[in-house]
Symmetry: C2
Amino acid sequence: MALTLTPVQGLPIFKQGDNLSATIFILLAENGIILQDGDILVIAQKIVSKVEGRFVNLESVRPSSLALAYQPIVQKDPRLIELILRESNSVLRIRQGVIIVEHKMGFICANAGIDHSNVTNPSDEGEYVLLLPENPDVSAQHIRKELHENCAKSIGILIIDSHGRTWRNGTVGVAIGVSGLPALTDLRGTKDLFGRVLQITQVATADELAAAASLVMGQAGEGTPVIHVRGFPYPLRESGLSELLRPKTQDLFR
Amino acid sequence: MALTLTPVQGLPIFKQGDNLSATIFILLAENGIILQDGDILVIAQKIVSKVEGRFVNLESVRPSSLALAYQPIVQKDPRLIELILRESNSVLRIRQGVIIVEHKMGFICANAGIDHSNVTNPSDEGEYVLLLPENPDVSAQHIRKELHENCAKSIGILIIDSHGRTWRNGTVGVAIGVSGLPALTDLRGTKDLFGRVLQITQVATADELAAAASLVMGQAGEGTPVIHVRGFPYPLRESGLSELLRPKTQDLFR
């Protein structure tokens, strides 16, 4: 069966308090898409953060002494550095333009996923940045529940961001919030074509779908931040981000 | 426009010397797929390696003293360890079951991408493993040229493998050979919706497509190792794996 990823056209620029699931539900219909059991909607974190009001006015941030100490190396606004530190459990590396952190949610990323682009001033002229959703798994569960109330279909919701990689150029889409689809698919015990047990034991199915959807979201990002997916080749099930986080005890590169 | 990934059904189990592009061309027709300008075929490295005869009989390998020294830690067959070392520029980490290396081709991966599953004995009863293609970019160029001679369409060819990630569980598909599609897409200078220059500057478009196709190839891997892609959202162009390899000077985690 083919996997088809279709951008949902016509989404507005979201602001705090907007009803994301209701907007998506209406626009799916306008795009001629009727949800079926097994479909997945992939949503860019940015619009989830916006409706959840994760804006921070940089004028409200007072940098700590640590943020000020990092500033000459990182060469970013020390208020932004302060926010990056507040959003993180620990710092892995710093260099000009980037702080690699373990985010409070447990994954490793650059600059705690704090976004500076496509962030409007929601209510005034201040300079705003946008934090990641407080708990993207919960955000995904919430959107899934509301859509289910509208359509009574078993669907999955995946919230994604773009991350750099350790040794490869360019960003790829990754899962940061998962509800109703397998984040990780465990193949342990599966036999290959010749009856030998497979070497690869776990596939990051939600990350693979995140990358696929990110590709379709395209350049501007906020242009088409919701992607409808049909033909996901694994059974839907309850899941969450934690499946994708490698335990520190197995980490070889920290 | 939607992105559609369709597994090409009916591929045989390949052996050294088989004509991969001719087989794919015939099977596309049998699958009802007529290539169009802008289409991409994503091919699992394993079948490319097989037709290129990248089998190695472990009985023919004599482990070096270094391979024997690694064996108590890695706990793999020392002949396999020897092959991993021969295929690599350097070793980053070793632990039970895995050697993280810089492959001769320049990317970081586990066990030099040497494959033990779905490897049949092509001509005898020996225990065989399968190395990566000698030069996957060249393999992709070759397949693309042969298909172009058959159909006169401008298509892209992407050869992929599955890699683990530093801090996340599970493997994802990644590009190891690229011809005719942008490995990396540079957005520097692109403005966001509000006229601010985008923070994210480079998207690993070939890796995002590799992950998408890997998802569709599914569990058994060799079941559907060729995926037809329509609706890739970027213009096709000449490219290669090197675009995706982060220079060592920018490497923070070696």
